[in-house]
């Protein structure tokens, strides 16, 4: 008797479900960052706006990477529903706090999917997710470093702060 499920795809259903949930999470992140970019833009924080526009594109790229992976593996990738996200924020600091919280949630989610892959002996998907582990380490570093700048630069120099926030990068990837 043929194993029709395996002939269709090497990706087990539990992994497929988890990856589709991750696609949705990445797209929600993209939407949140776009809202943050819009808020920064209309409040005169041009550099931070640019930072969040770029972040929004990156998150969409993360979702598409998973989407293409599922399609290439013969599994079913689902275009996700994206619920409404907050459009207004109290302060520039609260925007960056929200960004860090979002990155932590994504990191936790990636870790949970890797646990599912290990349970299912899905080494190919785990290999793909290693890229996300490194990416999340970088994303969390940048979000955390941005929040540090709020403590290091006086509040009356808000436009200097805006400029410095957009310059934060991570160049010390310990995996490379």
């Amino acid at each position: 008797m043929k194993d029709l499920a395996r002939l269709r795809t090497p990706v087990k259903e539990s992994v497929e479900l988890a990856l589709n949930q991750q696609i949705q999470m990445e797209m929600v992140s993209s939407s949140k960052y776009l809202a943050m970019a819009g808020w920064c833009d209309r409040n005169g924080f041009d550099y931070s706006a640019g930072f969040f526009y770029k972040q929004s594109e990156e998150e969409r790229g993360h979702a598409m990477k998973l989407f293409h992976y599922l399609c290439d593996q013969g599994a079913t990738a689902i275009s996700p529903e994206v619920p409404a996200v907050a459009q207004e924020f109290d302060t520039l600091r609260s925007v960056f706090e929200g960004a860090l919280e979002q990155e932590i949630a994504v990191t936790d989610s990636i870790n949970r999917i890797i646990a599912v892959c290990r349970r299912e002996n899905d080494f190919a998907t785990e290999e793909l997710l290693r890229w996300y582990v490194k990416e999340q380490m970088e994303e969390e570093y940048i979000a955390r470093r941005c929040l540090d700048l709020f403590d290091q630069i006086p509040a009356d120099q808000i436009f200097e702060l805006d400029k410095q926030l957009s310059k934060v990068t991570y160049d010390g990837n310990v995996f490379e």
Partner: protein, 119 residues
Amino acid sequence: MYTVSTRSTDWIEIFRTDKGVVYQCDATQRLILEFWDTYTALSARDFAQFRRMVETVDVRQMALSTDSAHDVEILTPPRSERCYVLTLCEIIHLRELLSGAQMMLELNSLLRECGCTLP
């Protein structure tokens, strides 16, 4: 689309309940759903998709709503001309049948991974 009207002797019975049967046809690589005295042949992907469609029907709303629109659910398996108009009880019966079949397919995968093969 692959259509069938009668049962073939080549089909392997995967799972059976009082209300229906799911067969596997190795020659065409299709799963055949016998429900309501009809046969619907589905690829493994379409079968999984249809099972998800049945699983995501809001049976709680069907049970509690007094609106006649919620008395039945209309489901069309992917790439099929079949259209099921199902009551709450029929949804539950179909879920039981499809879930049971899915479990048997997973068991077959496990056996294959262990190096065992079913005839």
